[in-house]
Every structure is written in C-alpha cells, then in structure tokens.
C-alpha cells in the first residue's frame, strides 16, 4: 500500500539520481597514479647566499 505521507517517493529527481548511481557506477578497479616531478628543487645560488649574509653578531654584553 502506498504511503502518501512519504514525500521522497514523489521526488523524481532523487529517484533518477538513485537509478543513475545504481546503473552508471564505474567498475571498481583502482590504479595508482603517482605524482610526477616537474619542478627542480630550489637551490640557493651564490648571489642569494651573498644577499643573505649578515655581519657576525657581537655580544651586547660588556662595553
């Protein structure tokens, strides 16, 4: 007997989505796709090293 209070049965879109999920599901046969390396690791160049040089720190203790 149809339960008229059950609104879900009238939701055509939901029914279609359910059927599509049931009938259209892709076969489960996983295959890994490892990420490839495309970028070179960043290297610190000589110029960059020189730019980052700081004067040797001196202790503030004393005079």
């Amino acid at each position: 007997m149809t339960d008229l209070s059950d609104q879900a049965q009238f939701d055509i879109e939901a029914n279609i989505a359910e059927r599509v999920e049931l009938l259209g599901a892709l076969p489960r046969a996983p295959m890994a796709m490892p990420l490839q390396r495309l970028e070179m690791p960043r290297r610190v160049g000589l110029l960059a090293m020189l730019m980052h040089l700081r004067p040797a720190s001196t202790s503030r203790v004393g005079h």
Binding site: E13, V20, L26, M33, L38
Partner: protein, 595 residues
C-alpha cells in the same frame, strides 16, 4: 602509421634542415631590415625593430618549413589488418557544463557504430561529469537513463559526477584511473564534442596492440558541423591544410609526438605511471594546476620511454570548433595561459629535448603576435628617435650627399613575409590538385578558389587575432587567471552590438594607431592600413563572419559526404530534439584509408 622517418637520424636531419631554414629566413629578415633602418643612420630603435623582425620571421618560417616537410612525404602504405582485437577499452567522455542532449547523442551514435563493427562489447563508455551547474547535471542524469534505455548498453556505459573538479580535465581523467584504471588496458580520451567512427576506434586498438611500446596514439580530428562563415573557413582550413602540417610535424617528432587532449588512445598503465600531474608551486596563472596538461602528458610519456605518435592517415575522427571569432578568442585565452605556463616546465628534469622545444614553440605561438605589434608600435615611433639627416657628412666637401633609398629592402622583406604566409598554402593546393586529393574538396578549381578566399579572410582577421592574443599575453603576464570557462557551442551568431562590446577596444586602438602614424610617420600609413583597417572594422567583421554561411566555397569531404557516424548522430539528435529526421543512417564505411 604516419610518414615518420624510421631512424632517429632521419628525424634529426628533418629537424636540422627545418630549423636551419627557419633561422636562415630570420637572419635574412633581420639583415634586410637593418639595412633599411640604417639608411638614415643606425639607432637603437632600428636594432630593436630588426630583432623583432628576426623573432617574428623565425616563427613564420618555422610553420612554412613544417608544411614543406609535410609536402615531401606521403603516409606510408601500411598493410591493413582486419583481424580481431581482444583488448577492453574505455572511452572517456569528460563533460563540463555541456549540452547533454548533443553530447549524449554523439555517444549513442558512437555506440551504434561500434556495435556494427562486431567489437562493441570490448568498448565501455565512461561519461565523466565535472559539471558545476546543478540544472545541467540533472539533465545529464535524465539523458543518461535515456541513453541506457535506447542503447541497451547497461554494464558498458557509466556515468559519474565529481563532487569537486580538482585538477580540471586532467584531474577528471586521473580520478577515473584511480577508480577504474585497472579494468582497462586502453582508454580513448574524447572531448564532449568529439565523434569517432566505430571502425576508427577499433583501428586505434589494433595499432596499440601491435606496438607494445606505444604509450599514446593521437589522431588528427577533422572539424565538422560548422555553419557560420568563420566556422566553415576554419573547417576548410583544418581539413585541407592540417593533414600536411601534421605530416611535417610527424616527420620531425620521432617518438616524441603530440597529445592534443582528445581523440587519442592511451595505454592506461603507461599513462598512470607517467602522467600524475602535480600542481605547480605558486599561484595562477603560472602556478597551480597545469592548464594545457595534454602537452605535458605527452612529454611525460616520452620521458618515461613510451612512444607518442600522431598517425595522420587515420580517418573518421571528428570534433567541432567555435562558430565565431569571439568564442575562438575565449578558447585561445585559455590556451594562451596554458602555453605560457609551460615556461615553468622548460627545465623540468629528464624531459626529451624535443619536448622542451615543443613547449618553447607553444610559448612562441603566443609571443610572436606581441612581437609583431611591438614592431608596428616601434615603427610608428621610430621617427622620434631618428637623428637628423646629415647631408654634409664629409668635412670640407661642398656638395650634399643624399641618403640612398633602401625602400627596396623593406619591400623585399614584406614580400618575403607574405610569401612565408601564402606560399605553403598555395603549394598545398597544387599538391592536392596533382595528387587528386582536391577531388574530395569539390575539385581543384573549387579548392583553389576556397584557398584564395581563405587567404583573404585570414589576412583580414589576422590583425583581430593579433590583438586578442596580445591582450591574452598581457593579461597572463600581469597575473590574471582566465579560470575555466565552459565552451560555447551551437549557433554562435553575434549581433553587431555583441561584436562591438567584444571589440570596441580594438577600434579605439586602430584609430589611435592610424592617428599616431599619420602624425609621426605619414609615409608609414599605407603600410599600416592592412592592419589598422580590420581593427577599425572589427565589430563588422566579427558580426558578419558569425552569420550562417551560404557559400558554395569551403566544401570539405565530410560536409559533402557525411560519414556513417555523422549521419547516425544527426539522426539521433534530431529525434531526441523532437525534430524530423531527414537523413537515413548508413552503415559505417571504412574508417581508415591510405591517402
């Protein structure tokens, strides 16, 4: 198999000859213009303009060399195998906010065409939806059920919609492989507007089965269903010139062929092992997801030792193209960003040298128009930098020395540039007439007329594309991301108002350019008119060219005699749209012919 030199030495020779010819032409252009510019004294602007001529001429000459290489060979007479195939193949149809009725009608036609080959059970369709619009997604589900009901292909036809479209199309394919890749040794990757004969798909599988080192086999898709003036010109150019250019490309690429993102078959294991696409560091447009992933996937397959090949003799592979200049420019904007992004990959570890060169070619294709525009701009402003002419350069010599006119050098250069653009196409017409290929284009006379009008049309529209491409490059360089707009398909006609809103900035630039030239360099105005006039008239040209074409020119073989799958698609689509069906389906014809 395409006409590829069998040995790497032959490939190397073709590359060397083509490159040498292009560099020689570029050097010739450079020297001619330098002499012309130096006639009134050499200045920095002359050197700059000569350098721009070098880069631009190199690009034109490289294209011409490719066509001439293609004209020197024919597809190899390959013995046809008609034996059975045994490999299960997935046909991937990524969709993104497309019209489901049109897309699914193509799938239904391909499914019917495959069944007629007798190998239908070996082919499974996977509709991979990345659609963001819920209303379109609902239509997709509805039409998928109808597709299943009509084809009876339950268990061979699948549909899934991703919750998020991470990685865009490349991510969509990757998601399929992660879910179902192990079930299929081969996968044919299509676009939503792709169409293929069943026999063509079977032939693709045959060739993959016959060559275990083949990682990817690309077909040369032919544009179909063009209706507008612009669309039909592009359709004709694609069908008439592209096979020759593609053959030239095939001769140069060796085992490092191209992937154009669709209408190709891949070996799934090779693809999975080699083509996992990382996002690039940094933000778009140069960082983030790789937009033009297909070129990168071809390079990665080659890096891993797989052969990537384009076989230009395979027929029965189709796609649709934009119907107007604005839609073409929108698609080009995306391609521009994708190609410029490849600058990040020029030094990617382990790539073949040819793959790096392909990336460079892609970048040049978009930078070259900027060079031309910069050349024009520099020419307009050149008089500002020119030193006054010294009529008495020799001390104590009482008679003036008049500068020798070098206008003939400029004229020679102009003739050379026009020649690089036109001669390859004219040679293709002659070749087609001599070898009988023109018959399929309604005869040699009609093909010649079509080519001449195409040359005129492409000359008129070239400045418009130059402006669109320059704008795209500048947008990318200043960091603007073009996003992932859905492609506009269908009628595509534009009103004058729509064309105006898409091109009024060109009109402004054309008028300003002409005004500046008239002010600073009046002698340049006649030279500038072929560029400036189309810009001033851009809205009219764009609107006019988007209208339905009634011309009897530009006939292509598929337009004159649509193949079986095209007829099937038409039949199904008209029925689904509730229209009459004027075309009866034929049985699929032979999909592969040796030209």
């Amino acid at each position: 198999m395409a006409a590829q030199p069998k040995d790497e030495g032959g490939v190397g020779l073709t590359r060397t000859l083509s490159l040498t010819a292009a560099i020689a032409a570029a050097c010739g252009g450079f020297l001619l213009f330098l002499q012309y510019g130096a006639s009134d004294g050499l200045d920095i602007i002359d050197v700059l303009r000569s350098a721009l001529i070098f880069a631009s001429t190199f690009w034109l000459a490289w294209g011409a060399a490719q066509a001439i290489a293609g004209l020197t060979s024919r597809p190899l007479a390959r013995p046809r195998t008609t034996g059975p195939i045994s490999t299960r193949t997935a046909i991937l149809v990524p969709v993104y906010n497309e019209d489901p009725v049109a897309t699914f009608a193509r799938i239904a036609a391909m499914e019917a065409s495959l069944r007629q080959t007798g190998f239908g059970d070996l082919f499974h369709f996977a509709i991979l939806s990345d659609t963001r619009d819920d209303r379109i997604a609902a239509k997709e589900r509805h039409w998928f059920l109808r597709l299943l009901a009509e084809t009876g292909a339950e268990g061979r036809m699948f549909y899934r919609r991703r919750q998020n479209n991470k990685g865009r199309k490349a991510g969509n394919i990757e998601d399929f492989i992660n879910t179902s890749g192990a079930a299929y040794p081969f996968a044919i990757i299509l676009d939503a507007d792709s169409l293929m004969e069943g026999e063509t798909m079977v032939e693709l599988v045959r060739r993959m089965e016959a060559a275990p080192d083949l990682g990817l086999l690309q077909t040369l898709p032919v544009i179909i269903h063009a209706k507008s003036r612009f669309g039909r010109v592009m359709q004709f150019a694609g069908a008439f010139y592209s096979p020759i250019f593609a053959r030239g490309l095939a001769m140069m690429q060796g085992k490092t062929g191209p992937f154009w993102g669709h209408n190709a078959i891949v070996r799934v294991r090779a693809f999975a092992e080699s083509c996992g696409m990382p996002a690039l560091s940094g933000k778009p447009p140069f960082g983030g997801h790789i937009l033009s992933h297909d070129y990168v996937e071809a390079a990665l397959l080659a890096r891993a030792g797989w052969t990537v090949r384009v076989d230009d003799d395979i027929q029965g592979s189709y796609e649709e193209g934009p119907e107007n200049i604005v839609d073409h420019a929108k698609r080009d904007r995306r391609w521009c960003q994708g190609n410029l992004q490849h600058a990040r990959l020029l030094l990617a570890p382990g790539l073949r040298m040819w793959s790096r060169f392909v990336f460079l070619q892609g970048i040049l294709a978009y930078i070259a128009p900027v060079f031309w525009l910069a050349f024009l701009g520099a020419s307009i402003l050149a008089p500002l930098f020119a030193a006054p002419i010294d009529y008495f350069p020799i001390k104590d010599w009482p008679f003036p020395v008049l500068p020798v006119s070098q206008a003939s050098k400029a004229l020679g250069l102009a003739v050379g540039v026009v020649g690089l653009l036109f001669v390859p196409k004219i040679l293709i017409v002659i070749d087609a007439a001599l070898r009988g290929r023109a018959r399929a284009f309604a005869g040699g006379a009609r093909a010649l007329q079509s080519t001449l009008v195409e040359l005129l049309f492409s000359s008129i529209t070239a400045p418009i594309f130059l402006m669109y491409q320059t704008r795209s490059v500048l947008q990318v360089l200043r960091g603007a991301d073009g996003g992932w707009p859905a492609q506009t398909r269908g009628d595509g006609s534009l009103t004058l108002a729509q064309a105006w809103s898409a091109s009024h900035w060109m009109v402004t630039n054309g008028v300003i350019g002409l005004g500046l030239a008239n002010w600073f360099a009046p002698a340049l105005v006649p030279w500038l008119l072929p560029v400036a006039l189309p810009l001033v008239l851009a809205p009219v040209i764009i609107s006019w060219s988007s209208r339905q074409s009634q011309s009897r020119l530009f006939l292509t073989p598929t337009e004159r005699h649509p193949s079986a799958v095209i007829n099937l698609q038409h039949l199904i689509l008209t029925r689904w749209q509730g229209k009459e069906t004027p075309v009866e389906p034929d049985l699929p014809g032979p999909a592969v012919m040796n030209a």
